[in-house]
Amino acid sequence: MSTITENISLKEQFLELYRNKSGEIAANSAPLMNALRDNAIGKLEKLGFPDRKKEDYLYADINSVFRQDLEKSFGEQKINFNIREIFHCDVPHLDTSLLLLVNGRFYNNGQELRELPGGVIAGSMKQAAKDYPEIVEKHYGRYSGNSKDGLVALNTAFAQDGIFVYAPPGVRSEKPVQIVNIMISDTGQMAQHRNLFIEGEDAGLNIVVCDHSLSAHRFLTNSVNEVFAGERAQINLTRIQNEHNGSTQITHSYSHQEAGSHLASNIISLHGGFIRNNVFVKMNGEHAENHSMGLYLADKNQYIDNFVFIDHSSPNCFSNQLYKGVLDDTALGAFTGRILVERDAQKTNAYQSNNSILMTDDARMYSRPQLEIYADDVKCSHGSTLGQLDEDALFYMRSRGINHREARLLLMFAFAHDVIKNIRVKALRERIDHLVNKRLRGELSRCNNCAMQCG
């Protein structure tokens, strides 16, 4: 199926793929999703793939990762593994409603969509587009539609399924919805799924996304998440990226916040060869509050790149970005944090902070704060630090008998915990503390009962 043709541009390859496969793609998806494809492919044709000449992708070598030899399949996929046997995510004391995505497809356990206790509806994106067309149509493609990123157009053109979560107005669900996104195959694989999380007025949701790779093949995921938070809705999104180092993960998250809504997202990047997270937030109503946070732990040849764009288009909103990371060996990290305060967005409070620790001389980090402010009565700040572990603190601990290695771990862990402590679900926070601790110790940071050894 997949061929590597160096002299044909990536764009041409995918345009051709679309020409050949659009029938199959549509047949295995839903009309509402299909409706946006032709327009999206036109956009891809115009925008192309991002390359390093583009300001927003200065350090990400998108071309190489897409040129890997990967299977792109659009029909039913036979999974030659018993997922339930291999994968059992056992987070102690964390009671979740579990949804599985396998290679970008909703993993059917007899029910494509279900109503969870409390009234949240969750399941297959494809099915939701058929069963809840009026809701899906109102939101699908609406928040990512203005993107200038060819990769988003690529996803819209090819995505066939994903996860749909809907909290109707007033429905507040404490129990987290857990989405386990698994890549598993006996050959290299590309997946492009599409998630849609919708919250009506005064609704509340906790969503946890865990990304795993369960076989030692090259994987590429290019996924788009659209999030709508209605007035006064509350949503906590936590993502744990834990794929092996032969995998590529590109995520695009578009959140649209109405007045008084509160959205907190934490992206914990533990493992993965090439990770690029794009986080776009639009503050569309007054008194909305957004916390976008991330923790990246990279070693060997890992590449982790976070790009955050907070668009304050309404007055009296608050946003806070906190991204921290530790880079070891020859790892490369990048962070771009953009705050746009539009002309009418008076009384905006917008903050940003990016702190990285470099463990070796060969590890690198690029940090770019970008503030664009058109209103005159705002409070905005940004800070970026890059450094080594505090030698004085290390000596202090060693002088108390704590080994050098242990002292370093304690300091790194304290550094990382700054991000983790903001995760609101306690059991999840404790679990992530534990995973991060193991990750920093160089032990495997996979879920307890998962037989595969990611990383």
Binding site: Y396, R398, S399, R400, I402, L410
Partner: protein
């Protein structure tokens, strides 16, 4: 317990210690006094293993072993403790976690089982009372947001927890009000036994009103220029370090 012979130490090519000789036996309390810049803190740091300094000659024997060969943590595990002049703040590392890790590392070194959570908390409670340090401090990150006095009390608290054989207290009295000074001194006196030794480094005689040394040494310009009993401290207080200067010149 500790024997320092002709110790010379430089930093960035500049010689700070120019041949220190000192012997400390179990059960003794030594005070090292001297003006600013005489090398007091350098001596303390070198003994604790700070790597900023270069030992150019001399020998330090601790418990009949070469001290300078050992890493800071090995020294600590062998019972050497440094009370910092400027204790370090470590945001995000809780006092409890810090002390528990330290104590269990030491126990492991001695071939003992780690303390259980309840044993550890019991020990914390006992030692907290000794230095009158409040629980609100031990529940926080190490030294973070502590006042100067609280930081110094916290040093004595750690010393009480770790029960060292040789404690070196670097200007533990500086910046303390009289109440905190009394508490610190009481901690030091209570922890003193015939089996351990203490070196108190201080600028002022004041601390020695509460902690009575067996020996007083005057460190001046990188050398110990005078040693004597506790009366030497009083003489210094009366005549000032200028007096040493004059003596030096006369010699």
């Amino acid at each position: 317990m500790l024997v320092i012979k002709d110790l010379k130490v430089s930093i960035d090519g500049e010689e700070i210690l120019k041949g220190i000789n000192l012997e400390v036996r179990a059960g003794e309390l030594h005070a090292i006094m001297g003006p600013n810049g005489s090398g007091k803190s350098t001596l303390a740091s070198v003994l604790a293993g700070r790597e900023l300094y270069e030992v150019t000659s001399g020998k330090v024997t601790y418990k009949d072993q070469d001290l300078l060969e050992k890493s800071p943590e090995e020294r600590a595990k062998e019972g050497l403790f440094l009370g910092f002049q400027y204790p370090i703040e470590i945001p995000g590392v809780s006092m409890v976690n810090f002390m528990k890790t330290a104590i269990n590392e030491m126990r492991k070194h001695r071939g003992e089982e780690p303390l259980s959570a309840s044993e550890f908390l019991k020990k914390m409670r006992e030692k907290k009372d000794l230095v009158e340090i409040s629980s609100s401090l031990t529940n926080r990150s190490v030294n973070e947001g502590f006042s100067g006095g609280e930081k110094k009390k916290n040093e004595i608290f750690q010393m009480a927890m770790l029960e060292p054989d040789l404690a070196i207290l670097d200007e533990t009295d500086s910046g303390l009000d009289i109440d905190a000074l009394r508490i610190v001194a009481r901690g030091v006196n209570n922890l003193k036994s015939p089996h351990n030794a203490t070196i108190v480094i201080t600028h002022y005689q004041r601390l020695l009103d509460y902690i009575v040394p067996d020996f007083v040494h005057v460190l001046y310009n990188g050398r110990i220029v005078k040693s004597g009993g506790k009366e030497l401290a009083l003489l210094l207080e009366e005549k000032g370090y200028e007096w040493i200067n004059a003596e030096e010149v006369n010699q």
